[in-house]
């Protein structure tokens, strides 16, 4: 398997997933079904997570085909710009879905609608539209039979009006990359925020994990869980700074195995979080008062979480070491 495989394996999920998430959300609206709405929000959040490695794997897929005759650099760049814009909107949609899920849980009056409810609806509709562009432009890279124009088509004067407007709003990938590298103190600032986000994320999650494992047992678990939004703030900071760093040095990260192992560990961490909330573990643990012991499954999830947090930090730290000492994972 190479990075092009990975891109093809992952790239349908964000497109289909957004449609499924939005569809469920709309059905839940019509049917006034709170459980279905919760399910749709979970789908959108999961898809936002899966979209991360999908976006990152694009550069490797490009590297695998860019020397083939019949592949247009211009079409790839158009796809990349479309993907960047859709990815940003997907992540905002996922974040809004998580805020809405948190409100569901906190307010426990699902019929109440707040601004995040409308925002999820709006952003998932926009994301679905943008994802359609990503799919179309991506398909055209490799499938000349579906191209509507010549392979060099990148002008803003073609296509329908909405298509031209969106094209004008899409970032130019090479310019974006240059922007990240122009000032080394901007880069230093991003890396700084990445470490501050790390401390916030690992601190809040780590304390909850340790309590579940039996450390500081006098702490009731439910109240500790109120720190969860701060863990998400930490994750959000690290997602933004991490993605910007990737955009700044795409080939550096793309051909680095430690980077991909870090992504794998983050996805497994997401799976672990899903295991926590989607089994009855969360409900059981939330009710634990001072001195009460967590069930074995909760302890297993907590230990896995701590181990995966360590793995994410470790692989992140070895990105530079891999780049210095190990042959890159694909000749380029």
């Amino acid at each position: 398997m190479n990075l092009a495989h990975l891109h093809l394996l992952l790239n349908h999920f964000p497109i289909i997933g957004t449609i499924v998430g939005l569809g469920l959300f709309l059905v839940s609206l019509v049917g006034k079904n709170a459980d279905l709405r919760r399910a749709s929000l979970i789908v959108l959040a999961v898809i936002a997570l899966v979209a991360i490695p999908t976006f990152f794997s694009g550069v490797g897929a490009q590297g695998a085909i860019k020397n083939d005759p019949g592949v247009s650099e211009a079409l790839i760049e158009r796809h990349e710009g479309a993907a960047m814009l859709a990815f940003f909107f997907m992540e905002i949609t996922g974040a809004l879905a998580l805020v809405e899920l948190w409100k569901h849980y906190r307010i426990s009056r699902p019929e109440r609608r707040t601004w995040t409810f409308s925002a999820v609806l709006l952003f998932s509709i926009i994301t679905t539209g943008l994802m359609a562009r990503v799919g179309t432009t991506g398909g055209e890279v490799r499938h000349p039979e579906i191209r509507s124009g010549p392979a060099t088509a990148t002008t803003t004067t073609e296509g329908s009006l909405p298509s031209r407007i969106v094209y004008a709003l899409e970032p130019s990938p090479p310019k974006f990359t240059q922007l990240m590298l122009d000032n080394k103190f901007w880069w230093a600032f991003m890396m700084d925020m990445h470490f501050i986000g790390l401390a916030l994320l690992v601190g809040t999650i780590g304390v909850l994990d340790l309590r579940m494992l039996g450390f500081a047992k006098n702490l009731p678990v439910g109240p500790l869980h109120r720190l969860a939004p701060w863990a998400l703030v930490g994750f959000g900071i690290n997602l933004v700074t991490g993605v910007l760093a990737f955009i700044g040095m795409p080939t550096f990260y793309t051909y680095d195995m430690a980077f991909w192992l870090k992504m794998l560990a983050i996805m497994l961490l997401g799976l672990n979080v899903a295991a926590f909330y989607l089994t009855n573990t969360f409900e059981t643990v939330e009710a634990l008062g001072p001195g009460e012991d967590a069930p074995p499954l909760a302890k297993f999830i907590a230990a896995t979480s701590l181990f995966l947090c360590f793995a994410v930090i470790a692989f992140g730290r070895y990105i530079q070491w891999f780049s210095d000492n190990v042959d890159s994972i694909a000749a380029h």
């Binding site: 401390a199 690992v202 809040t204 500081a216 009731p220 109240p223 730290r317 070895y318």
Partner: protein, 167 residues
């Protein structure tokens, strides 16, 4: 200004040279990893206490959080040890950079604040949660600012050095 020769002496030792030049994954980058894990333990746990003292997640009872100080001290000593090893690998790079001293000053104050927080807020059994918050809020604000400054100064070491090794 001539650089002190002990910097070159340290860099010339086999251990210092090995850390800089070895391709082993257990050289310099391993120490860097340990330093980052120590940071997560120390600053992560301290940030939780600071946020709680500032009114985040008020349902969490404050006294049991005292146990986190053990984790913070563990992180602190891990980072003193790994920090000295990192200094051993690149003494000239660090010691000729003013930013390094800013980092140490921030850490010094942050640890002092952490010590005072433990003594004044958590060791006084007569205080209830509201009194602990009243007494600890200012310390908590300073703690968050100083740790953010320490991390920032630490990160800047990678971008502001004048020499990598002894010229």
């Amino acid at each position: 200004m001539a650089l002190p020769l002990f910097l070159r002496t340290i860099e010339g030792t086999p251990f210092s040279t090995w850390m800089r030049e070895s391709e082993s994954p257990f050289g310099f980058y391993f120490i860097l990893l340990v330093h980052t894990v120590g940071l997560a333990l120390l600053v992560g746990a301290n940030a939780v206490i600071d946020l709680r003292l500032l009114g985040v997640a008020r349902e969490i009872p404050l006294p049991p959080l005292k146990r986190l100080f053990g984790i913070m001290w563990l992180g602190f000593w891990i980072n003193v040890t790994s920090g000295i090893l990192l200094l051993f690998a690149y003494p000239t790079k660090s010691l000729t950079n003013p930013d390094f001293y800013i980092k140490l000053t921030c850490i010094g104050f942050a640890v002092w604040i952490m010590y005072r927080m433990k003594r004044r807020v958590f060791d006084d059994a007569s205080l209830d949660d509201a009194a602990m918050m009243a007494k600890g809020a200012t310390l908590a604000k300073w703690s968050l600012c100083l740790w953010a400054a320490a991390i920032t100064a630490g990160r800047l070491l990678a971008y502001t050095y004048r020499y990598v090794t002894f010229p």
